[in-house]
C-alpha cells in the first residue's frame, strides 16, 4: 500500500506550485513552508517503515507500466534519511525567507515548491534518465531563484551558474546515452546486474559520475561553487547548500555502490580527489572577507569528508560518510541562516563592516561558535561524531593511504579551525559597532538595531537538532548503518526496482 503513495512526494509540491499562479504570494507562504515539512514527515514515516520491515525496499512503477519503461520510484533507508534531513533543513531555510520578507517576491514560493518536487524526485528515482530529468526540474527554478534575490552581483553570477550547470547536465545526458548504448537500459535495478568489469560500461558510468562530481563541487571542479552561491541571498544559499550538492552526493553514493559495485580500481583516483577537496576547501576560506564566501569554501571541504566515506567503501566507511552528510546539511544550514540573520539586520556580511557582535548578539554568536566548532569536529554537536566516524573508518586503510588520509583529515580540520577563527575575529570580536569609523559602517543601519529573535529561530532550530544528534547519536548512527548495508548489498534494491 505504501508504495503507491511514493509519487506524492513529487506530486504534492508540484500541485502546490501550480496554485502559485492563481494565489497571491502571501497565501502561498504556508504551502511553501509546509511542503518541505511534509517531505520530512513522510521521510520519517518511511524510515520507520523500513526499520520495522527489516531494511525492506519499497518501489513503485508510476502508472503501472512495464518495468524498464515506467518511471520507477524507490525508497530505501538511504533515500528516506535524505528526504528527512533535506526536508527539515529546507523548511528552516524557507521559513527564514518568509520571515525576512523575500518570500513575498512574486513566484518565490512557486519556485521553492518546484525545487522541492525536483529534489524529492531525484532522491526517489530508480532510473538514470529520470535522475537527469529530476535534476533539471530542481535546477530550473534555481536559475530563477539565484537571479531573484541577493546583491547585484547575482545577475552576472546567474550566468555563470546557468552555464556551468547546463554544461554539466549535458555531460550527464551524454553519460546516460552511453550507458544506454552499452547496457541497453538505464534502470538502476537492471544496471546493478550488469557486468561491472566491462571497461566500456565502467567508462560510460564514469561519465555520469564525472557530471555528478562537478555538480557536487569536488576539487578540481569546485570553482563555480564559491563564486556562485554567495552572490545570492543568505536563505537561498542555505537552501541550495542543503539540496543541490547533497543530491549530487546522494546520486554518487547510489551509482558508485549499486551500479559499479564499489569499483575498487578507482580507489586511488577517488582518494586523491577527496584529499584534495578536503584540504583545498578548508584552506580556501582564508582569503575571503565575507561571511558567506568563507562558508562556501567550507561547503567544498565538507564534500571531501562525505566522499571519503565512499572512497573507503567498507560498511563503516559508508555509514560514516552518510552520517557526515546528514550532519553537514544541518550545520551548514544553521551557519548560513545565522549569517543571513546578520545580513538581514546589518545589511552586510563583509568583515570590514561588522565588528563586536559577540556582546551585541549573544544568541547569534553562540550559534555561530557552536556550529563552527561542529564543522571542525569538536563537541558538543553532531560534528564530533561525524569526524570520529570518518577517522575510525579511515583507520581500516593500510600503508600510504592510511597516512595520507589521516594527515589530510587533521590538516583540513586545522584549516576549518583557522577559517572559524577568521570569521570570529572579523565579525564577533573587535570594538563595538558604535566605535567603528562611520565610513566603515553600513549606512541606513541604526545603532540600536538588534537581530529580531524570529530571524534567529530557524538557524537555532537546526543547531538544536545537531546538538540533539550529539546527545543521542545512536538512532542516527543505526539508520546510517542500515543505509550503508542497503548500498553494499543491492540485491533487494535491484529486485524491487525491476519487479512489476
Amino acid at each position: 500500500m505504501t508504495d503507491s503513495l511514493l509519487p506524492l512526494f513529487v506530486v504534492v509540491p508540484l500541485a502546490m506550485a501550480a496554485l502559485g499562479v492563481v494565489l497571491p504570494a502571501r497565501a502561498m507562504i504556508p504551502l511553501m513552508v509546509g511542503a518541505p515539512l511534509l517531505t520530512a514527515a513522510g521521510g520519517l514515516g518511511l524510515l520507520v517503515a523500513h526499520a520495522e520491515a527489516g531494511n525492506e525496499v519499497i518501489a513503485t512503477q508510476v502508472g503501472a507500466f512495464v518495468p524498464g519503461i515506467a518511471i520507477p520510484l524507490v525508497s530505501d533507508t538511504l533515500a528516506a534519511l535524505m528526504l528527512t534531513v533535506t526536508g527539515l533543513t529546507s523548511a528552516a531555510c524557507v521559513a527564514f525567507s518568509a520571515i525576512s520578507g523575500e518570500a513575498r517576491l512574486r513566484f518565490f514560493p512557486t519556485l521553492v515548491l518546484m525545487l522541492t518536487a525536483g529534489v524529492n524526485g531525484a532522491l526517489l528515482t530508480g532510473d538514470l534518465f529520470n535522475l537527469f530529468v529530476f535534476i533539471e526540474v530542481m535546477l530550473l527554478p534555481s536559475y530563477a531563484l539565484i537571479a531573484m534575490t541577493g546583491t547585484w552581483r547575482r545577475l552576472g553570477i546567474g550566468r555563470l551558474f546557468v552555464v556551468v550547470n547546463l554544461l554539466t547536465s549535458t555531460i550527464l545526458l551524454i553519460g546516460v546515452g552511453l550507458v544506454y548504448g552499452v547496457a541497453g537500459s538505464v534502470n538502476i535495478g537492471v544496471l546493478a546486474d550488469a557486468d561491472a568489469d566491462d571497461p566500456r560500461f565502467v567508462l560510460a558510468v564514469s561519465v555520469v559520475l564525472l557530471a555528478l562530481a562537478i555538480k557536487a563541487g569536488v576539487v578540481p571542479m569546485h570553482g563555480w561553487l564559491p563564486r556562485a552561491y554567495p552572490a545570492t541571498s543568505g536563505s537561498v544559499m542555505a537552501l541550495f547548500s542543503a539540496l543541490h550538492t547533497k543530491v549530487a552526493l546522494y546520486a554518487i553514493f547510489r551509482i558508485h555502490q549499486v551500479v559499479l559495485d564499489g569499483a575498487e580500481p578507482y580507489l586511488t583516483v577517488l582518494l586523491t580527489l577527496v584529499v584534495l577537496t578536503m584540504v583545498v576547501g578548508s584552506y580556501g576560506s582564508l582569503g575571503e572577507k565575507m561571511i558567506r564566501r568563507l562558508l562556501s569554501w567550507q561547503m567544498v571541504a565538507g564534500v571531501g569528508y562525505i566522499l571519503l566515506g565512499l572512497a573507503i567503501g567498507t560498511q563503516l566507511g559508508l555509514a560514516a560518510g552518510l552520517f557526515y552528510l546528514s550532519h553537514h546539511i544541518l550545520v551548514m544550514g544553521a551557519l548560513l541562516l545565522a549569517s543571513a540573520a546578520i545580513e538581514h539586520t546589518y545589511r552586510s556580511n563583509q568583515f570590514t563592516r561588522l565588528s563586536g557582535l559577540m556582546r551585541r548578539e549573544p544568541l547569534l554568536a553562540t550559534i555561530v561558535a557552536l556550529a563552527m566548532l561542529s564543522l571542525v569536529g569538536f563537541p558538543p554537536s553532531s560534528g564530533f561524531f561525524g569526524k570520529v566516524g570518518i577517522l575510525r573508518a579511515a583507520a581500516d586503510l593500510d600503508g600510504v593511504e592510511l597516512v595520507v588520509v589521516m594527515t589530510a583529515v587533521v590538516v583540513a580540520s586545522l584549516g576549518t579551525l583557522l577559517a572559524g577563527l577568521r570569521l570570529w575575529r572579523g565579525v564577533f570580536w573587535g570594538p563595538p559597532l558604535e566605535d567603528l569609523p562611520s565610513g566603515d559602517r553600513e549606512p541606513h543601519v541604526s545603532l540600536d538595531t538588534r537581530a529580531p529573535l524570529r530571524t534567529v529561530l530557524p538557524s537555532a532550530v537546526l543547531l538544536v537538532v545537531s546538538l540533539g544528534v550529539f546527545l543521542a547519536p545512536g538512532p542516527v548512527w543505526d539508520v546510517t548503518v542500515r543505509a550503508a548495508d542497503g548500498l553494499l548489498d543491492s540485491t533487494a534494491y535491484a529486485a524491487e526496482v525491476t519487479a512489476p
Binding site: V133, A147, G156, R159, V163, L166, T170, L173, G181
Partner: protein
C-alpha cells in the same frame, strides 16, 4: 556509420570553442551545439543500430528503439527552456560580456 560520431565531434569542438568566448550570446550558441551533440549520442545509442523505415515491417524487430527518442525529446524540451532563460540573462545588465559584468557589484544595492 562513421558520420554520426564525426558530426558529434564537430559539434562538441564548436560548442567548446564558443563556450570559451566572453559574450553570453556566443556561450548560448555553444551550449546549443553541445546539447545537439548530446542528442546525437543518445540517438546513436539506440536508433541507428536497427534503423529501417517503420512502414510495412510487421513486428517490432526492424523498428528503431523508441526509448532513446523519448530521451532526446525530453532533452530538447529542457534545453529549449534553459536557452530562453539564458538569452534573457544575456540581456539583463545591458552588456553581455561575462568577463566584466560580475564585477559591477556591491555598490548598487
Amino acid at each position: 556509420m562513421t558520420f554520426l560520431p564525426l558530426t558529434v565531434a564537430v559539434l562538441v569542438a564548436g560548442g567548446a570553442y564558443l563556450l570559451c568566448q566572453a559574450g553570453m550570446v556566443r556561450i548560448v550558441f555553444g551550449i546549443t551545439l553541445l546539447s545537439h551533440a548530446a542528442n546525437l549520442v543518445l540517438l546513436a545509442s539506440g536508433v541507428s543500430a536497427w534503423r529501417t523505415e517503420p512502414l510495412n515491417t510487421p513486428g517490432a524487430t526492424g523498428v528503431a528503439d523508441p526509448l532513446p527518442m523519448a530521451f532526446v525529446l525530453t532533452a530538447i524540451v529542457i534545453t529549449l527552456a534553459v536557452t530562453v532563460l539564458m538569452l534573457a540573462l544575456s540581456l539583463i545588465g545591458g552588456d553581455d560580456n561575462t568577463y566584466l559584468v560580475p564585477e559591477t557589484g556591491q555598490e548598487h544595492r
